[in-house]
Amino acid sequence: MMTSFNSWLNNHSLKFKLNISILTCVLLGFLCLVFLISKQAEPIIKSQIDDNAQKTVETYGHEFAHLVSDTENIIINAKNTLNQTSESNLGALQTVLNSALKTVESSDLKFTNAWVYAFPPEDVSQGTLYISNHDEQNRLIDFHVEQVDNFYDFFPWFKKVPKEEKVYWSEPYFDKVLAKTVVTCLIPFKFAKQNDFNGLVALTVDLSDIERSINNFSFYETGKLLLLSRSGLYVTYPDPDVALKMTIFELADKLNLPPLKTIGRDLARGRKGQISIPNLPVFKGTAVFYYAPIPNIGWSFCLVYEQNYLLRPLHKFKIMMLVSLAICILLLLFVINWISRNATNQLITLGNIAENYGQGNFAESFTDKPLSTDIKQLAKALSDMRINLLDYINKERNVASEKQKALSELDIARHIQNSALATKYPQNKAFQVATKMIPAQQVGGDFYDFFFIDSNKFAVVVADVSGKGIPASLYMMKALTLIKNISRSKRSLDFVFHHVNEQLCEGNDTCMFVTAFMAVIDLTTGLTKFVNAGHNPPLICDKAKCQFLTPQRNIVLGINPKAVFIEETMQLNPHNQLFLYTDGVTEAENKTKEFYGEKRLLKIFEKATENPEENLKIVLNDIKKFTQNTPQSDDITMLDFVFYGAHFNSLTLAADNKKIADLIKFLKKDMNKHKIKEDTQFNVIMAAEEIFSNIAQYGYTTQKNASVTIHVNKIAEYYTLTFIDNGKKYNPLKNKNPDITQKITERSIGGLGVFLTKKLADTLTYTYQNRQNVLTIGIKLTEK
């Protein structure tokens, strides 16, 4: 996992890595910060808003409770006084009301009016109402007395005769005359010396100030304070259609908000609490209701506020942080790219200059490049390298020029060596010779030679000097010259090699030696004498096959001055060939250190032609195919000698019976030259005509390019004829002989020609090679 990540990183540029790592760190840091702020700050802010809500409700409740108790105190004071007063004492009533109003005046209370109601103990509905008339400064002006027939019309909730002395609060109501929200507080009393309650004293409190104060109050901008009466009626509400017209239960039904009913029930039981209602349309998100009852009166305050109101700036703050993070990241990206581009540009510049150095261009130097301090170190190393390289190159240049001098001397040596080797192939009907030498070094230790000893004897030599280079080439020159010179004595080859050996041994302190094979061919007879001095056995081939000669090995030249060399003899027949070579051929190595070997040489020679130059090309190509450009470790030297014989003659005719006369004329002329007897000539011509007319008649399916080549030769006691044609493969020797014992008139007329040829020739060979029929016949030259 880690390694795959590392390799992934390594595949990217420095710029990319910097971007990724720094930006990841910054992003993580910022996200942590935002997360922490949310986690830490949100609960604090939430509890803060809840605390404030509670305090607000408590403060308003407290104030309202104060108002309630003030009002009740005034009423209770008035009642106490009235308890001592008789109903008929109007002045006393006025005084009580007046003092009550005076008390109100000194307090924060506002009232609309105060009254006393006297009724018979058994019926509340009918009685006398004494209402205060006061001016704007709350001063009592006069007293308004009014007979009331039905008290319930004013106070429907006060139907029964009160049984106990306690304070009653009316529901809030809207005074249409004054256009104010008011509430009436009253208490029953007994006029002096009465046993039953027969009076009521009341004060109507103006709530408009409180109403205004509540309506103007806003809690964190969107939060609202609501005042509810004992029955759940909204005393204040932002919507005027609700205030004093609807209870919380009715609104719950209208808005389909059951939690409002829960609040209403809680308040009716005098409990305080907090309820969250999600997705309230007026607020964005969750609304919180905090509610608490007001003591004595049974009313309550409810504060509705948006739960997340204070979190909103926090969210805003978070968004601003994210925006600044994005800006910060963009800035960082730009800065990192700028820095890394600067750094990599310098590196690329250095790289380009280093590449130039690698290509041998040292012109550019680092000193004039503006570089940052850390890259300067690398530049200095490169600059030192440049100086060292320049020094080294100068030194090498001197060494190389020295070498060049030595090489040119080697060139001269090679030139001398090459000029010592025979190059001009003799033009002779009796044979063809070709040579090829590929030295492994500039000067080699191998050599070959060919030369006429006299007009009828031709010598071929291939030799290999131990060692390589200049010493070997000098020794080689010596050996080459000795062999050629001593051969001119026309003595036997054992004599020649004996003397060459003797002189090569002289002063040979370095113990160099030469292996050599030499053959001298009598061009008239094909009789060949040869001598071998520890050299590879040559190949000898006739038309049918090749084989290695098995000569006497003898000792190498140059080691033992008393060594004896044995001359041997063999017969070369026309179209035989002798292939001489050095061990550079058979020991040519391929990449797996395998030798080319004698088997491959023997096999490739199956493809040999009668053209020695062509043969050497075939062998060389085969060696190259084998070695596959493996460096050559030893000189490769080859000499191919193809023998035709001194009396070799040749004629090519169109394969047409009309050419028979030409054939006979050619044969007669050649045989006359060799003074061959008439009878033999007759037999030769008979046989030749049969073979030729056979080829002309059956050999070719078309006349185009149909031709026959006839080689004639006289070698030893035979006159030989070879017929070569490119026609269809046909071996006449396999022909069935005709039955000559049959009666003459019953004989078939076919098969006579081949039969006659067999009768006339002394030797007959047929081969099919290189898509050619080759038929050779030999006729013995008889002495008669």
Partner: protein, 105 residues
């Protein structure tokens, strides 16, 4: 070139049932068919060939003599060669055609 122009010359001498042909040159695949076609064998029962000036008789020549012999056989005729050289005689013997030759003198 003269040989190519004329490698066989035939001189016919008719004496009743006997036809004598004096041949000059040689009998090869080019000339042998001519020998067969140029002779009128009507009423011939003895066909003599004077071989004195014949240099070579190749197998095609042998076949020509064979064909003439076969042509004469229904009318009871025979082919005889006279003045045959030793070399040519050898050829006839090799081929088993001795019956056409005169017994050697």
């Amino acid at each position: 070139m003269e040989e190519e122009a004329k490698t066989l010359k035939i001189e016919q001498t008719r004496e009743g049932y006997k036809l004598t042909c004096k041949l000059t040159g040689w009998l090869d695949p080019n000339t042998s068919p001519e020998l067969v076609s140029s002779l009128d064998l009507e009423g011939v029962s003895l066909l003599y060939f004077d071989m004195k000036n014949v240099e070579y008789v190749f197998s095609s020549g042998l076949r020509a003599f064979l064909m003439l012999q076969k042509a004469l056989e229904p009318q009871g005729g025979i082919v005889k060669l006279i003045n045959v050289s030793d070399n040519i005689r050898n050829i006839f013997e090799y081929a088993g055609f001795e019956s056409m030759l005169d017994p050697k003198a």
